[in-house]
């Protein structure tokens, strides 16, 4: 029987009604017999507005609703929930975007904006007439989650989910979890020691029965969909059996090979066989077959000879493991900007120029009481190296550099008083809790903040001292002074792991290269892929409290999905009319999700046609546009609906 459509035109508190003539829109919608009611409202998305819709649906027995208001990508979910409360399918709701597409961009052509609003609403009406009351598709969903990346965000998420009784697979590429935080000396603004607060958390991970920790492991492939992600991981061969190893350190002495130690950013050396870090979890030695003199053929084997517990075995090969999970949290962290690209600062040329992470390690270095390097009394920090810099295409602010520079300055200052420490900044960003007070305290302790960008650094070849030239924009003076050491506050950039995982999952990336969240304000830890969430700096530069908070958010989002036991999938998917399909296979070729297969549908005649796997299909519709005979279509965005919308033109 004919549809009964209710139309609501929203004023949006003036945002729309100041430009679009609401009355004229409503009058021009009268006429079609199936438009049973046209109403306007000051804020249709408000509590009152939604109640109005609810009552109208009941009283006027509406079976379709058209709302002319803001963008469906803004309030769409709100209204879909209202429809569900009213007992209607959320898919018989159409929204005409008369704010972002009419009143806002055309505020100085009110007549045209009104005409456009009328057309757009008529288009929504044309589509609504052919809407089908779809129901969400239901997939059973278990309690298994994969967390990629074992930094603080990955650890926190693993602990939250493990404690909540979910089966967690924590996959970490490096030999130990802890990520970048484990490399820090102290943390701002409280200056509590990074290792001290991180080690207990790291220790909880192996102790939690629900967490399966897989270090030195990389994700090779992920296929499937929410509730059915097939994950394949490859684990490196570590050649040392953690149960037998007693950490006696004899093998390290015997090993002839010395290479820069990643944990100390290359400031110290390690052997081919080594303990990843003093606070490594899992706490066991590993043999790095890339730097070892060679296992095939066996070149040296000195470590095996001195190992009494016989924990070393060269006959071990990388293994591959497959498992299925229901949701995924990506926490692959960040890399620091390679400041050598900024030639003008001389990192890599001048001896006494370091980046901030190296300075962290120098401070944390406790070897035999003798500091790694005498950094002298006059130290300069240069802010925004590789951040807020269009030349290197990193326009974003890395948010943490101002505060970690202040922290490093305070620590250095307190270590041996009488130092002169300068921080050259453009804007000092102390926005977080306790940051401003910390900044004030640093100034009171004698840290000098100079508001000016350092133009250049020159090194005196003999004394290795560094002269900085910068313009102090507050005192309008050009400063040129000599320093013993310069520390570059490098920004945060996306790392190789992020690119790899984004490729596997088809995650899109925002302009700064970090992973793109579903919605910046409303769904900051979701991604556009169902069941995949983000946590920590993989989504953008942030400090430890924010990363931990995001880890908690991502865990709760994953829990909220998995706790229901079922997942409702979008019903807008492709549909093949078997009576028309001739099985040419072009739709299967173009499907990015491999959701269509050419299968025999009639054993008697052997007729083959395309068949869509509803759970894999994301409803992109490329198959429908490729199909010549019109057998393929998309429910909810059908050719017929779009054809009717075109006819409104």
């Amino acid at each position: 029987m004919a549809p009964r459509i209710g139309v609501y035109v929203c004023h949006c508190g003036g945002n729309i009604s100041e430009v679009v003539d609401i009355q004229k829109v409503m009058e021009s919608l009268e006429g079609p017999v199936d438009v049973v009611q046209i109403k306007d409202h000051e804020h249709i998305c408000s509590e009152v507005g939604q109640k109005l819709i609810l009552n109208d649906i009941k009283e006027n027995k509406l079976d379709r609703v058209v709302i002319a208001a803001c963008s469906p990508q803004f309030q769409g979910i709100t209204f879909m929930k209202t429809m569900e409360h009213a007992g209607l399918s959320p898919y018989v709701l159409e929204m005409a975007n008369i704010r972002e597409q009419c009143s806002w961009p055309h505020y100085d052509y009110p007549q045209e904006a009104t005409k456009k609003a009328i057309d757009l609403t008529k288009m929504s009406l044309a589509k609504a007439r052919l809407d089908i009351p779809l129901e969400k598709k239901v997939i059973p969903i278990g309690k298994r989650v994969l967390i990629i990346g074992g930094g603080i965000a990955g650890i926190q998420a693993a602990l939250d989910l493990g404690d909540a009784g979910f089966q967690v697979y924590l996959v970490e590429k490096d030999p130990s979890i802890g990520g970048k935080m484990a490399q820090l000396s102290k943390t701002f603004p409280t200056e509590d020691c990074a290792a001290c607060i991180l080690s207990p958390k790291m220790a909880d991970v192996p102790n939690n029965p629900n967490i399966k920790l897989m270090t030195s492991t990389e994700v090779k492939d992920i296929s499937g969909y929410i509730g059915n992600y097939q994950v394949t991981v490859t684990r490196k061969a570590l050649y040392v059996d953690p149960d037998k190893c007693t950490c006696c350190d004899k093998c390290v002495e015997a090993c002839p090979v010395t290479v820069p130690n990643e944990y100390d950013e290359g400031l110290t050396t390690r052997k081919a066989i080594y303990l990843p870090s003093p606070i490594a979890v899992p706490h066991s030695y590993i043999l790095d077959d890339k730097t070892c003199l060679g296992l095939f053929p066996l070149a040296c084997s000195k470590c095996k000879e001195v190992c009494e517990p016989n924990a070393i075995d060269y006959d071990v090969y990388p293994t591959e493991e497959k498992f299925t999970v229901d949701t995924i949290i990506v926490a692959t962290g960040f890399d620091i900007y390679d400041a050598r690209q900024k030639r003008v600062y001389g990192l890599g040329k001048y001896e006494n120029v370091f980046n901030a992470l190296e300075m962290e390690r120098m401070l944390a270095y406790a070897g035999e009481g003798k500091p790694l390097k005498d950094i002298g009394n006059r130290i300069a920090f240069i802010q925004c190296v590789g951040s807020r810099d269009e030349q290197v295409e990193h326009e974003y602010c890395s948010r943490v550099c101002c505060m970690y520079a202040t922290k490093l300055a305070c620590l250095l200052n307190r270590e041996r008083p009488g130092k002169e420490i300068y921080i050259f900044y453009t804007d000092l960003r102390a926005y977080g809790k306790g940051f401003e007070e910390y900044y004030k305290r640093a100034q009171s302790e004698g840290i000098k903040y100079i508001r000016g960008r350092v133009a250049e650094i020159l090194e005196d070849p003999k004394t290795k001292k560094l002269t900085l030239r910068a313009e102090d924009t507050l005192s309008r003076k050009i400063i040129e002074s000599e320093f013993n050491t310069v520390v570059l506050s490098v920004g945060l950039i996306p790392n190789e792991g992020t690119r790899h995982v984004a490729g596997l999952l088809g995650l899109s990336r925002s302009q700064d290269g970090f992973l793109k969240e579903a919605h910046l304000k409303f769904r900051p830890v979701d991604t556009l892929i169902e069941g995949v969430f983000l946590a920590g700096t993989v989504q953008g530069p942030k400090d430890i409290p924010d990363s931990v908070a995001q880890a908690g958010a991502a865990s709760s989002r994953a829990i909220s999905l998995m706790n229901k036991g079922v997942y409702e999938a979008e019903p807008i998917t492709a549909q093949i009319d078997e009576s028309i399909c001739i099985g040419c296979g072009m739709c299967a070729d173009v499907c990015a999700y491999k959701a269509i297969e050419i299968t025999v549908v009639d054993a008697h005649t052997g007729k083959k046609t395309a068949v869509v796997n509803e759970f894999l299909c994301k409803g992109c519709g490329t198959c429908a546009a490729t199909c010549r005979s019109g057998a393929a279509d998309v429910i909810g965005v059908s050719d017929h609906q779009i054809s009717k919308m075109i006819e409104v033109m």
Binding site: V257, E262, L267, T268, G294, P297, C300, G348, E358, M362
Partner: protein, 97 residues
């Protein structure tokens, strides 16, 4: 081995504090058949073909850079003619790789 492009380009600051074995290489040029195993298999790439000839007109190996040798004895093991071996020098003076 470090190459300039890698992330850890710096010579570690504590390099001088770490003792590593230093090998001295001995070559019996006349015994060498020029098979090149030692050159090919040396993990530290210490050896190379010399341009001089031995009596049997083969090119024996030559030490490119003595400092690189860590005395792992692989050249000794692979040489079919026992024409090359390394001995560990007592650490009169430290060197870094």
């Amino acid at each position: 081995m470090k190459n300039a492009a890698s992330k850890y380009w710096r010579i570690p600051l504590d390099a001088d504090r770490v003792k590593t074995p230093k090998g001295k290489i001995h070559i019996l040029k006349e015994r060498c058949k020029g098979c090149g195993f030692c050159i090919e298999y040396c993990p530290r790439d210490v050896l190379e073909f010399s341009d001089e000839f031995n009596e049997k007109a083969y090119h024996p190996p030559r030490v490119k850079d003595e400092k690189l040798c860590l005395c792992c004895h692989l050249c000794e093991l692979v040489c079919p003619e026992y024409a090359i071996w390394s001995t560990e020098e007592k650490d009169e003076e430290l060197h870094h790789p």
